[in-house]
């Protein structure tokens, strides 16, 4: 394993027990099935798929909000699932998360200074005396005026709230940022601001990110590589330009076709009625390398099926 691998996930499985139709029995939802991938230092990996495909579940397992049923999550070479509580606490600082709904993830009764100061003090990132200067620096980094410190979350617009969420995540100097649909609640013009901000931060701080999203345009814009999930499994993974130029898995093709392209000259947004019968949702075959150059992997059953 290379030294620059920040996150490595091997055969991750997550099974949830849910209430079934009958009161006395429990049903089982296999949310994540045999998922493996890795993220290098400074790399942004996009994770796309429809709702219920398990994207967010993976993100949650990585930041420690839930325990996987089986599999390993290695962060800088160490399996975080075998950590003692003390190690876990130390590690938690290194992996931070940005949420979809920035508003509900900010305490409405605290001003921005307090919201940002608390994690800094708790984790000894800066002393109480230096916290003010550090917070100014963070606000500069995410493009908010320093005067924001005295304001409360409700005084900000959606885009600004997301910037606060990003500032809070960055305050602990993480090495990995899990972004769970950070722009899906924002308007396009504001979405563009946040996407560019995330890219700038990556370049500046050499951060690694897992960018979960269903807006394919946004995901392909920020990501170096994209993994496509369908029903709990990764079905295809490749560099982002390659993935949409040469999609191999039928689900990736369906996704691509469905995107409304912002040009009246290109006819897109096709929906085939029986598209979903083109692949087996329980296809357990491993991912196989198609192209070394573009790191293109796809389910091996697809390659056999087409005979290529």
């Amino acid at each position: 394993m290379n030294d620059d691998t920040v996150l490595k996930i091997i055969k991750l499985n997550k099974v949830y027990k849910v209430q079934s139709a009958s009161f006395f029995t429990k049903a089982v939802v296999h949310a994540v099935k045999d998922v493996s991938f890795m993220i290098k230092k400074g790399e942004i990996l996009g994770l796309v798929g429809e709702s219920g495909s398990g994207k967010t579940t993976i993100g949650k397992q990585i930041v420690g909000l839930g325990k996987p049923t089986s599999g390993t999550i290695q962060f800088r070479g160490k399996d975080i699932l075998t950590f003692t509580p003390k190690e876990k606490r130390a590690n938690r600082v290194k992996i931070q998360m940005i949420f979809q709904d920035a508003y509900s993830s900010l305490n409405p009764r605290k001003n921005i200074f307090d919201i940002l100061e608390k994690p800094i003090l708790v984790n000894h990132i800066a002393s109480k005396r230096d916290a003010g200067v550090y917070i100014d620096h963070l606000l500069d980094l995410v493009g908010l005026p320093r005067s924001s410190k005295d304001k409360y979350p409700h005084e900000f617009s959606g885009g600004q709230r997301q910037r606060i969420g990003i500032a809070r995540a960055l305050s602990l100097k993480p090495e990995l940022l899990v972004c769970d649909e950070p722009t899906s609640a924002l308007d396009v013009s504001i979405q563009a601001q946040i996407l560019n901000l995330l890219k700038e931060i990556r370049d500046e701080l050499k951060l690694s990110m897992l960018f979960i999203g269903h807006g394919l345009g946004a995901v392909s814009y920020v990501s170096d590589r994209i993994a496509v999930m369908n029903q709990g499994r990764i079905v295809e993974i490749a560099e982002s330009a390659e993935l949409f130029r040469h999609p191999l898995h039928p689900y990736t093709k369906v996704l691509k076709e469905a995107i409304p392209i912002a040009s009246p000259l290109i006819k897109s947004m096709k929906a085939e009625e029986n598209a979903r019968t083109q692949w087996d949702p329980n296809d357990a075959s491993p991912l196989e390398l198609v192209d070394q150059q573009t790191h293109h992997y796809v389910k091996s059953s697809i390659l056999k099926g087409t005979g290529s």
Binding site: S220, A241, A258, P264, S268, K270
Partner: protein, 326 residues
């Protein structure tokens, strides 16, 4: 030519904290039979409010303060609520973004489709039953008996939206207003719903007003486009003109802020700086001036009005100069 629906100089005022705020200003729109008009803009730009004004669905603190709304040569504002009820849901239907909250959780799909038929059409039990099945077929829900017995929470997001469309279509509307009908859905389901709307529009010769903030959907669906910003229409043109020859700086900026999946690495998206002004009704000049890359001193002083420029209507006094590459 007479238009099916014609809105002239519409102002909608809301009283917020005992302050009068004109949230929709000087909106002029028209819609012809069988055409798709897309109303596009960021949240809070007044798209939905414009359409709610048309249907007389404003909240108690809102009212239309000037302008006219004519549907089939009839001024809608002069109608009583009862007269309006005959048009709403029958000649003009609307579907909303959140299909789950639009459906009543304690009634089955059958109840909810039959309700609209009972309200507007006088059908026998047998004819009603057939009508319900026909509607389900139209919106692509084939497993009739099963679907009809279900409650909204038992349906998927796409199925719920299809049920809403079925309800909206029950009385053969001439105009269907769809307010962000697919924002909450996955792209693949979105494509299915949009194709369905497009196909139904053709089959039934309906006019469709699609409210959206997704320029991709606009490009794929629209015949004509009206771009709204801060309560005003700032550009209106046919779809090709909007995308290939945008004239208002806001339309241009909006198009540049969309990530493109295939050339994403090569093309850096240009976000629009700042955000939509809060008390936009108090701005005297151009409401976009603050964020505009081509701002002139005159922009903030002169009241801007929609003017014809080539095939478009543009609310920017410098549009022509910009076009000529000044």
């Amino acid at each position: 030519m007479e238009h099916l629906l014609q809105i002239d100089h519409l102002d909608t005022t809301y009283t917020v904290h005992s302050e009068e705020r004109i949230l929709v200003h000087d909106v002029c729109l028209h819609l012809d039979k069988g055409e798709t008009l897309c109303l596009v803009g960021e949240s809070g730009s007044g798209k939905s409010l414009t359409m709610l004004s048309v249907l007389g669905l404003l909240k108690n603190n809102g009212r239309i303060t000037s302008g006219s709304i004519r549907f089939e040569n009839q001024e809608l504002q002069n109608l009583s609520d009862r007269e309006l009820d005959k048009i709403r849901g029958s000649k003009i239907s609307m579907i909303f973004q959140d299909a789950l909250t639009s459906l009543n959780p304690v009634f089955t799909v059958r109840n909810q489709i039959e309700e609209i038929i009972d309200a507007h059409l006088n059908l026998s039990r047998k004819a009603k039953k057939k009508k319900v099945i026909d509607l389900l077929n139209q919106v692509g829900l084939s497993d009739h008996e099963l679907i009809l017995k279900k409650y909204p929470h038992e349906l998927s997001g796409g199925q719920r939206q299809r049920v809403l469309i079925a309800i909206a279509l029950a009385c053969h509307p001439k105009v269907l207003i769809a307010d962000e009908p697919t924002t909450a859905l996955d792209v693949t389901i979105q494509a299915e719903i949009m194709n369905l709307l497009d196909q139904l529009k053709r089959e039934l010769n309906m006019a469709l007003i699609l409210i959206t903030h997704d320029m991709g959907l606009v490009a794929q669906m629209a015949d004509r486009v009206a771009v709204m910003y801060a309560g005003e229409i700032i550009e209106e043109a046919n779809v090709n003109d909007i995308f290939l020859r945008p004239k208002h700086p806001y339309t241009k900026a909006l198009l540049q802020s969309i990530p493109d999946i295939e050339h994403s690495k090569a093309k850096k998206i240009e976000p629009i700086k700042g955000r939509v002004p809060e008390n936009y009704d108090q701005i005297k000049g151009c409401r976009f001036a603050d964020r505009c890359a081509f701002r002139q001193p005159a922009c903030t002083q002169n009241v801007q009005s929609l003017k014809k420029l080539q095939e478009s209507q543009v609310r920017c006094q410098f549009a022509e100069q910009l076009l000529n590459g000044e």
